[in-house]
């Protein structure tokens, strides 16, 4: 495991924080640019008004006090750092101001209105900008033919700088805050994950009964924990099932193998008559027959559970299948003095495997025939509704106790009462597997609840094709 501080930086919270910082940083730059542009034009407006007012004031001074007074006044105005003036006589001589020369290349209207204009750097007074500057400029012509030009040096950079400084500070604070929140969140997530991880480690170490602790917050971690616990329950059940099956296979296959081996070994101890050999061989063939059956049934269940047959499901008419099965099993039930009746509506189609369904329904009918007493009744009922088909096999035998009903679907389960009847305890497991393959709901119920022989009703609900 990596050192904790390193892990923290890999948490989703931190990653999200970094992403959001990048995103908001970009957004901030956009805002900054927009803000600059807006305030810039606002400031320009203000400066323009200012110089227009000033030029009117200077014209008033010229009108009331004359040219000399104006020159003196301009001299006093030069102490303002950003102010630019140029007063030129009608002959073109410089009378006052801090510009080097009249910017001739500038096409200025002598209206007294402010406008943007380029001024060459050579003309600018020292201490101003180095390059040619785009400045708000206004100019007028006086009655004696002299001309006055007024401009303001706008230091654009300082505005931008001030604004960005402020916004960058704001962004810095945001970043700090985001990282702070992310670290807290990240640590919280890590703590919760570590709890889950610790449970996982214990489970990996072999303690399948371990579960992920669920807090009372009912948050997404609790949802995850509950899901994980449900998954663990299922896995534990499957493992138990597998273990039971292995134990049972061991029992059901080992015992007959041992019997066969012993019998053959004992037979070989002494010379025996051909009849005796034949008897032993026949007996062994029967044992092998039983073994193969168990083996085939297990294989069939395994393949069905693994969904091997899913590819070749086709449209099956359950009514026809039921009729075929009735044909096969009616004589058997009659020979046991039972009545086997088919309650059947219209053709009912589902998507399925005829072979597997035949085997599954066959198993149910065989069970019913096996456990129903003489004179009893067995019903095969195909009940179609709007979008599903129910297949019900109901008998009037001793039934299965409520507590055993789930249990009997497991592999190799044989109820005490059935110990003396032939069978391998796999019939209902196959039924369950086939129902699962067909996404059918499988329900076990009493046929006649409350009676001394409640009977068993096996209901399978298939979706209509």
């Amino acid at each position: 495991m990596k050192p904790p501080e390193f892990r923290l930086f890999r948490t989703t919270a931190i990653r999200l924080a970094v992403k959001s910082i990048l995103f908001y940083g970009f957004l901030l730059l956009l805002v900054l640019a927009a803000l600059y542009w807006v305030s810039r034009s606002h400031i320009d407006d203000e400066i323009n008004t200012e110089i227009e007012h000033e030029i009117i004031k200077l014209q008033q001074i010229f009108n009331t006090s004359g040219s000399l007074q104006l020159i003196n006044h301009i001299a006093t105005l030069l102490r303002h750092k950003d102010h630019i003036y140029y007063l030129q006589s009608a002959e073109g001589e410089k009378l006052a101001g801090n510009l080097g020369y009249w910017p001739e290349e500038v096409d200025i209207e002598f209206s007294g209105l402010a406008q943007g204009s380029w001024v060459e750097d050579e003309a600018l007074p020292t201490g101003f900008q180095e390059d040619d500057a785009y400045l708000p400029v206004a100019a007028i012509k006086f009655s004696d033919g002299s001309r006055l030009l007024l401009a303001r040096n706008v230091e654009q950079a300082s505005y931008l700088l001030e604004m960005s400084e402020f916004l960058l500070e704001a962004m810095g604070i945001t970043i700090l805050f985001t990282v702070f929140i992310a670290v807290i969140l990240g640590r919280q997530i890590l703590r919760r994950m570590d709890i889950i991880g610790a449970s996982a480690s214990e489970i990996m170490a072999g303690d399948m009964s371990q579960r992920v602790p669920v807090s009372h917050n009912n948050d997404e971690f609790d949802t995850l924990a509950k899901r994980l616990n449900a998954m663990l329950d299922r896995i534990q059940k499957l493992i138990k099932g597998l273990r039971d099956v292995t134990d049972n296979i061991a029992h059901d296959l080992r015992s007959p193998l041992t019997r066969m081996r012993n019998q053959m070994e004992v037979t070989l101890l002494e010379p025996r008559s051909p009849e005796e050999y034949q008897k032993v061989l026949r007996h062994n063939i029967n044992e092998i027959e039983t073994l193969i059956r168990t083996f085939n049934a297990l294989l069939s269940i395994a393949q069905t559970e693994a969904g091997h047959h899913r590819a070749q499901l086709s449209r099956i008419n359950l009514k026809q299948l039921a009729l075929d099965l009735m044909d096969l099993y009616t004589p058997l039930s009659q020979s046991k003095g039972q009545s086997l009746v088919l309650i059947n509506g219209d053709d009912s189609f589902i998507f399925g495997s005829r072979d597997l369904l035949a085997q599954s329904f066959g198993n149910l009918l065989e069970n019913a025939i096996k456990y129903t007493p003489r004179g009893g009744e067995i019903k095969l009922h195909i009940k179609a509704s709007a979008n599903q088909v129910e297949v019900i096999v109901a008998d009037s035998g001793p039934g299965i106790a409520e507590t055993e009903k789930d249990h009997v679907l497991e592999k190799f389960v044989r109820l005490e009462s059935a110990r003396n009847t032939p069978g391998n305890g796999l019939g209902l497991s196959l039924v369950a597997a086939v129902a699962g393959l067909h996404n059918a709901e499988l329900v076990l119920k009493d046929s006649k609840p409350g009676e001394s022989n409640p009977g068993l009703q096996v209901i399978q609900r298939f979706s209509k094709a």
């Binding site: 027959e289 059956r293 091997h308 047959h309 070749q312 004589p331 058997l332 066959g362 065989e366």
Partner: protein, 225 residues
């Protein structure tokens, strides 16, 4: 019969050879698909037994080559793969029957006889007869000693199958497959009950029994047990 056996499991093949020889059949054996195909294309056989998984050329490919060569000799496929679709693909490739390992030797023998017989009888016959038992395939009715035997439709199919294989042993599995089209092992004696019912209809009251039980294998419709 002259049988071609293509099987790569030498031990299994030697038992089969021994068994088939003792039953009076002549058997040629090939260890792999290529040799097997060569033998099949050059020899004259009544029936072939081909294992599905073979070295050099798999069993299904051998059968496809044979069928492409217009060879119609019946083929029984042996396979350790027992899923439904495996059987279907086997029959699609041109096999005539499919037997899943582990199988009983008697089952194999019965199926081989059924296959060769199927080859020699045709479906255009309208009547089948054994001693005084006659079935009319067109009218779907049966008579024993000119007296009508009342049969359910499925019983008629059962009897028809037995009549088409008179003097041959048919197994319970063969009956379940051919008459009911079911491919599973019933855990009960359901076929025996069907047979005894049919027997009571065709043999009861007559001196000569025709439907015989062959112990440990199946049944046989014949004038002699």
């Amino acid at each position: 019969m002259h049988i071609l056996l293509i099987e790569d499991d030498i031990q299994a093949a030697s038992y089969l050879l021994k068994g088939l020889n003792e039953c009076g059949h002549v058997v040629d054996h090939a260890n792999d698909g290529e040799d097997g195909l060569h033998l099949a294309l050059t020899g004259e056989y009544d029936v072939m037994v081909i294992d599905r998984m073979l070295p050099h050329r798999d069993g299904l490919s051998v059968i496809r080559m044979l069928r492409a060569d217009n060879n119609t000799t019946p083929v029984l496929i042996l396979s350790a793969l027992g899923e439904v679709d495996d059987r279907v693909t086997g029959l699609h490739a041109g096999g005539d029957d499919y037997l899943i390992k582990p199988y009983a030797f008697s089952e194999l023998l019965a199926r081989l006889e059924a296959l060769t017989r199927r080859n020699s009888t045709t479906n255009i016959e309208q009547k089948l007869q054994l001693a005084d038992l006659v079935i009319d395939l067109r009218k779907q009715c049966a008579h024993r000693a000119d007296k009508p035997v009342h049969l359910q439709p499925r019983e008629f199919r059962l009897l028809e199958f037995l009549m088409r294989h008179t003097d041959q042993v048919v197994t319970r599995t063969m009956l379940l497959e051919q008459v009911w089209d079911f491919y599973f092992d019933p855990q009960t004696n359901v076929i025996d009950v069907q047979i005894s019912r049919l027997r009571s209809k065709i043999d009861k009251g007559f001196n000569l029994p025709l439907l015989h039980t062959v112990r440990g294998v199946g049944y046989k419709l014949s004038e002699t047990p």
